[in-house]
Symmetry: C2
Subunit: 183 residues, 2 copies
């Protein structure tokens, strides 16, 4: 952020009076431009015991497999966002079940939330951001070609919980690991 979105003046990056964090502040109109984490909402879409994954047609992680998920939009709920993203990326209509994972990714200011979901009619395809979609049985999941750590962790929880037929909410964090991220 270089310019004030309210008046167009150059902003300063400083701690405002009465605050304890650096913010972008406009010295002309005094607007403080707060920046806050974003929610990524998605699903674990299931059909006849298999899990639907999409292969990404966009960066980052072009060509890698993902659970359908994306940034929550204004004016919607997290479950609505999860169902919308599943439609947009996998052309799959789902009924949303319980909230399943909340994974904080604080070094990129994101909170990922995955719902369990069931395809309503078994139909799916490739949305604009996907190369293809495919149903995977548990022993077919392409672990070495998954897109993001939150997808991998959600699938790991799901497979472990499926053995017990019990799917509690899992709240966890993924922290920045320099040695891992440099590879």
């Amino acid at each position: 952020m270089k310019y004030c979105s309210s008046c167009g003046h150059s902003v300063e990056h400083r701690v405002p009076e009465g605050d304890n964090r650096h913010r972008y502040v406009c010295p002309n109109c005094d607007t403080i431009h707060y920046q806050n984490p974003r929610i990524v909402a998605g699903t674990v879409p299931v059909w006849e015991g298999k899990i639907l994954l999409c292969r990404r047609a966009i960066e980052p992680r072009y060509g890698y497999w993902t659970l359908p998920a994306g940034f929550m939009e204004n004016s919607e709920t997290t479950n609505e966002a999860a169902a919308r993203e599943t439609w947009e990326e996998a052309l799959a209509e789902v009924s949303i079940e319980g909230l399943y994972t909340i994974i904080h990714v604080p070094h990129i200011d994101q909170v990922h939330m995955f719902y369990r979901a069931t395809l309503t009619n078994g139909s799916f395809g490739a949305g604009e951001e996907s190369l293809e979609s495919q149903l995977f049985s548990i022993d077919e999941i392409p672990w070495d070609e998954l897109s993001f750590p939150t997808v991998k962790r959600t699938l790991e929880y799901f497979i472990a919980d499926q053995k017990e037929s019990h799917f509690p909410l899992h709240v966890s964090d993924i922290r920045f690991q320099p040695s891992r991220d440099k590879r």
Copy 2:
């Protein structure tokens, strides 16, 4: 939003190519300025069977009672945000227990998340944004002087669940109600 925060040019409000929603778009540097919901994180802070509430020293709802809560900041997790807000508003150190309510408020682009929490040593006070803090037993809660619908709903769940000593996660929505909001 009137000006591009990247280059300072006037922005347009239109549907970008390949998108289906109106966004603020810069015709000079082509930056699309996405806007996304914000998370409000807070706690239900308990000490010796009583619930700690704060009386707001800021607008909106100056003078009304609230559970400690506020906007999640970048670089933190929702539980860290909830504990930080409890410290800032009620000067109370808490140990965070389970995530308890997620309440979508889509007409103001917010997701409220409350954790159950226990005061670590019974100490509390009034932070800069509070006039005072006070422990309330269940039959003392000032229902007619509560600040926000998400606070009221979270307290209602808590009191009902306390009778069963079972506190499952509650995910719900609060929708815009014109007749109610006009009062």
